[in-house]
């Protein structure tokens, strides 16, 4: 399969804190991938590394087989919309389209204008005076005018109201469906992206917790409910992601590689959200207990 984005043991350290560490992942071409994780998990760092704004501290990241840091030619293939959709606020949307044309060799100004016209964005108003949703649309239109093969969006809908969120994602899906552009968009809420993505990367505490196609992930995970369990091997289960116990009963969220045949367990299918929450709940709190000097 063609890989658009490959990271191998990628790490980025600021001072003594690792924003991202030991991150290995592959993003196949043509996917709409969601990068999910709580705030501070390293999502922006990963995107900045992918677009070449940051230099890796360790490991490698490759986009279309090239290392993006300092690679100006490679930038032409990557569309990037940073968090809070920064644009020159005193520029009008129309001037921003001109600016994009001056800054890029490949630039479809007509496409940008058409999009902005369809969305009803006023061309002669400074973008600083547009609503957050309109500004996000302008930023998206500029990113798409580059005709990128990979589109990276950092929290594109975080600051939008629910209606604008839906419109933004709809217009995004509409335009990448035709071009076959690979999209990686981050959010701290899976719910925002669940309907549009077909690939998932879960980041937590600067590490990749889970990565894979949404269908596979849902198919591989099961919830098992049964009598209290002491942690022994269960046939067909490769990993227990989360376990909760009562006096007599144990509930497990597990990753499977085949059918669970033990009749003691009741098997339930899980939603994508259950899977993500199980992975996010795992492994976040150990360090802070020791830092605060209290028992876990």
């Amino acid at each position: 399969m063609d890989m658009v984005l490959e990271a191998d043991r990628l790490g980025k350290r600021y001072g003594s804190t690792w924003a991202l560490r030991d991150c290995s992942l592959h993003l196949p071409a043509g996917r709409i991938a969601a990068l999910v994780g709580p705030n501070g998990a390293g999502k922006s760092t990963l995107l900045h590394l992918a677009v070449g704004l940051l230099k890796p501290t360790e490991g490698t990241v490759r986009v279309f087989g090239r290392s993006p840091y300092g690679d100006t030619d490679g930038l032409a293939d990557i569309g990037f919309v940073a968090q809070d959709t920064p644009l020159y606020r005193d520029f009008t949307a129309s001037e921003l389209v001109i600016a994009g044309g001056k800054l890029n060799k490949r630039w479809d100004a007509g496409l940008a204008r058409k999009r902005l016209a369809q969305l009803g964005i006023p061309p002669d108003k400074p973008v600083g005076k547009l609503s957050g949703g309109q500004r996000a649309q302008v930023a998206l239109a500029l990113a798409l005018a580059k005709q990128p093969r990979l589109l990276l969006l950092d929290e594109p809908v975080a600051s939008l109201d629910p209606l604008a969120r839906r419109e933004f994602l709809q217009s995004l899906m509409g335009s990448v469906a035709e071009s076959g552009t690979t999209v990686l968009l981050s959010s701290h809420l899976l719910a925002d992206l669940e309907r549009v993505c077909d690939y998932l990367i879960v980041l937590n505490a600067s590490q990749v917790q889970l990565t894979g196609a949404v269908d596979d992930l849902v198919a591989e995970h099961r919830q098992l409910v049964g009598p209290r369990h002491d942690g022994g091997v269960i046939g067909g289960v490769t990993a227990v992601i989360r376990a909760s116990h009562t006096d007599r009963q144990t509930t497990l969220l597990v990753r499977t590689d085949g059918p669970v045949t033990d009749p003691a367990w009741t098997i339930r299918e899980v939603s994508l959200e259950d899977v993500v929450l199980a992975y996010l709940a795992d492994g976040t709190t150990q360090t802070s207990h020791s830092e605060w000097g209290v028992a876990a």
Partner: protein, 329 residues
């Protein structure tokens, strides 16, 4: 890139030109009237005649009187000159410091550096264009100031090499302005917020300028010494426009008796009580006035060295700023 730079800074450029025009509208009439008075008093001839060491005492007195009159009328403008010295740092604060810091503060660096133009090229074009505009600005300012301050410097005993007036004219303002802007840009890449960057620029500019002015400039060339007797006809033959670094009165064995002063007595002059001139200070017979100075004709050499130092510092800072830009995310 050029279009983008112009679009981003046109408003700023407009206001800068406006401010410069307002300043010119204020200073040109003053300068004209100053020059008018200067020539009415015949001081242009005086300046030429006084440069000649064989000038007669009568001419010297007449000219000194003229310079005094001119000084009485216009010396308060020296205060204005002090204010004008601060113009380069203003350019550094408002053009240099925000150049990178503003982009980072508004997050727009993530927009512009991820387009098809690499950020090194972005930095080079932007720094280059702003630098060129500032160069023109500084040249206009330096030439204008040279013209404006010329009568004041000729009237002042110390001449063009003196503090403040040296900094106002010639090519030195170009060096200062480029340095201020480069310092602002560099501070912006280090602190990445406009206000801290501006603060650092202000402090850094004042610090470096003061250090160079006080510590380095007197030593650009070995200073000359001059001695002359304390008894003699008329004022000592010190040429106008020399920059006197230190002076004092020394005994024949070389010990300094009185610093920062000079003594002039008529030949064979005695105090009313019959003591020899200067005896109350402990002067022995044969004591002489002594001074360490930089001669007036070194003005352009000193201008060149001063400008060279600041241009070199500016280039170093710009180089560091370009390197820093590659590491900002």
């Amino acid at each position: 890139m050029i279009w983008l730079t112009w679009r981003q800074h046109r408003k700023q450029a407009f206001f800068t030109v406006l401010a410069l025009a307002a300043l010119a509208a204020m200073l040109v009439p003053i300068g004209l009237s100053m020059r008018h008075t200067f020539s009415d008093l015949g001081l242009a001839d005086c300046a030429r005649q006084l440069a000649d060491t064989n000038v007669t005492a009568a001419t010297r007195e007449a000219c000194d009187a003229g310079f005094r009159r001119f000084g009485n009328q216009y010396s308060s403008l020296n205060l204005v000159a002090v204010l004008l010295v601060s113009l380069p740092v203003l350019v550094g604060l408002f053009w240099g410091a925000p150049l990178v810091a503003r982009e980072v503060e508004h997050g727009t660096h993530r927009f512009v550096w991820t387009q098809g133009v690499g950020r090194t090229r972005w930095a080079l074009v932007k720094f280059g264009l702003v630098g060129a505009a500032v160069l023109v600005l500084a040249a206009v300012y330096g030439l204008g100031m040279s013209w404006w301050v010329d009568p004041l410097t000729q009237a002042a005993y110390e001449g063009r090499l003196g503090m403040i007036v040296f900094d106002l004219q010639g090519i030195a303002p170009i060096g200062y302005t480029l340095f201020a802007v480069a310092l602002g840009i560099f501070a912006g890449t280090m602190w990445k917020r406009m206000l801290p960057a501006m603060g650092i620029t202000l402090a850094g500019f004042i610090g470096v300028r003061a250090a160079v002015e006080i510590l380095a400039r007197p030593h650009y060339q070995p200073a000359r010494t001059q001695t002359f007797p304390i008894e003699g006809e008329g004022p000592p033959e010190v040429s106008r426009g020399d920059w006197i670094l230190t002076q004092g009165v020394r005994n024949p064995d070389g010990t300094m008796i009185a610093e920062d002063t000079r003594i002039q007595c008529p030949p064979g002059g005695k105090a009313p009580d019959g003591r020899v001139c200067g005896a109350e200070l402990g002067l022995e017979p044969g004591a002489y006035n002594w001074q360490l100075y930089q001669p007036a004709d070194r003005f352009w050499l000193f201008q060149g060295i001063e400008t060279g130092i600041f241009v070199a510092l500016a280039l170093l800072l710009l180089y560091l700023a370009v390197r820093r830009v590659r590491r900002i995310a």
